[in-house]
């Protein structure tokens, strides 16, 4: 069926699962306000089977959706099973003869013994224990705050200076490498998270200001930086706009 193939294509091109559910609902002519879970899960599984047949890779999330739908379906069926056990108006339980011919049972109600759930008042000793816990929590909070304050003990640095510094570094490296491009990895003195971030941030400013161009072939590949001859004057400089912002360094 043409529409079914549509769904398979949607799945293969990783549409959101919600879109696919809507598509199946319309394909199977289901009432969107009262969805027949049995039909919906069957429709979904049919499309998964088709994908397998066509040798598409099935994204993991669709397997999870199929599991969820099947679970919902089986829960629904269980509810129907239990509904077969009904209460008569006098409160007695009747197990009806179901369509597949189970026996009929009429049982009297099972009266449970009354179980009392006594509680008692709090003892002073418990109150003291609670205070101990509350005060300990307070102490921990104070220590945490003190630590947090310790972390704010920082030196400030002018971002303008950082940007200018990186720009000079690019210049120097271009001279040294005698090429037109500088790999980003050469700009980072020590390949550590903080250092990478501290280099990357001013680079973004330079790029935005039009002073450099950047090129990256694939995700996580090397970034090649090229100096632009004429900075695009039309573009307002972010670094100028945020002249007063200081970079905070530990």
């Amino acid at each position: 069926m043409a529409q079914e193939t549509d769904i398979v294509e949607m799945m293969a091109s990783e549409y959101s699962w919600e879109q696919i559910i809507y598509k199946i609902i319309s394909l199977e002519n289901l009432d969107p306000w009262n969805v027949d879970l049995k039909k919906l899960s069957e429709g979904f599984l049919k499309c998964l089977a088709k994908m397998k047949e066509l040798d598409f890779k099935i994204p993991a999330k669709y397997i999870i959706i199929a599991c969820v739908l099947l679970r919902m379906k089986s829960d629904g069926l269980r509810v129907l099973d239990v509904l077969a056990v009904e209460e008569t108006p006098n409160g007695h339980e009747v197990v009806q003869t179901s369509s597949n011919g189970h026996e009929k049972l009429d049982l009297g109600p099972l009266e449970l013994p009354m179980k009392r759930h006594p509680t008692r008042r709090v003892m002073v000793a418990e109150l003291i224990a609670s205070l101990r816990k509350a005060l300990r929590t307070e102490e921990r909070r104070i220590v945490r705050h003190a630590k947090a304050r310790g972390q704010i003990n920082v030196t400030e640095e002018d971002i303008e200076e950082r940007i200018a510094h990186l720009y000079r570094k690019i210049d120097l490296l271009l001279l040294k490498l005698k090429g037109e491009e500088v790999p980003f990895s050469k700009l980072v003195s020590k390949w550590e998270k903080a250092e990478v971030a501290n280099t990357f941030l001013p680079l973004i400013y330079l790029y935005h200001d039009g002073k450099v161009s950047c090129k990256q072939e694939g995700i996580f590949d090397e970034i090649f930086i090229k100096k632009n001859e004429e900075p695009k004057a039309a573009k307002p400089s972010i670094s100028q706009k945020i002249r007063n912002i200081k970079i905070i360094k530990k």
């Binding site: 269980r78 056990v85 007695h92 049972l105 109600p109 449970l112 179980k115 009392r116 006594p118």
Partner: protein
């Protein structure tokens, strides 16, 4: 008499019946005969009230006199068995020994959970017989209901037959 008051307090506050020797320990006395005597006196005292102190196989317990249960039972909303569990238990009792498959047929797949619950609570037990599981009620059930299982069965079979 402080000892008697302490016994009352213990029986009132304890969520489960208390054995004679635990009550003795509580009072700090060695003579269980003495504790039993005090309990006997208390039982007499309570004859005049809406409560009673009974000696069950699991120990002494303070409870509402059965004749008032109908009037006050609704005040305690906690039923410690779900409606589904109650049904499974009734079916197992009625059909005992009952095939698990038969209960599932009657109650649907949900009954697997009820059977698990009831087994965990020690009210029923499952025995394997070839490919099938046979469900039976336990001794624990009798102490839960406080009456012999035959009596509970009778209650069910009035309607069943």
């Amino acid at each position: 008499m402080e000892h008697k008051k302490l016994l009352e307090a213990a029986l009132f506050v304890s969520p489960s019946p208390m054995m004679l020797n635990d009550l003795g320990k509580l009072l700090g006395v060695n003579s269980l005969g003495y504790v039993k005597e005090l309990l006997g006196e208390l039982q007499k005292q309570y004859a005049e009230t809406g409560l009673e102190i009974v000696n069950t196989p699991e120990g002494y317990q303070m409870q509402v006199k059965p004749e008032f249960l109908g009037n006050v039972g609704h005040l305690n909303p906690h039923s410690d068995l779900s409606e589904g569990c109650k049904r499974t238990l009734a079916l197992v009792l009625y059909k005992e020994p009952a095939k698990q498959s038969e209960i599932i047929k009657l109650q649907g797949n949900k009954a697997y959970n009820y059977i698990k619950d009831l087994t965990r609570r020690g009210l029923i037990k499952a025995e394997r017989e070839g490919h099938t599981k046979i469900l039976k009620v336990t001794q624990e059930l009798e102490s839960y209901f406080g009456v012999p299982k035959e009596k509970i069965k009778e209650q069910l079979k009035v309607e069943g037959n």
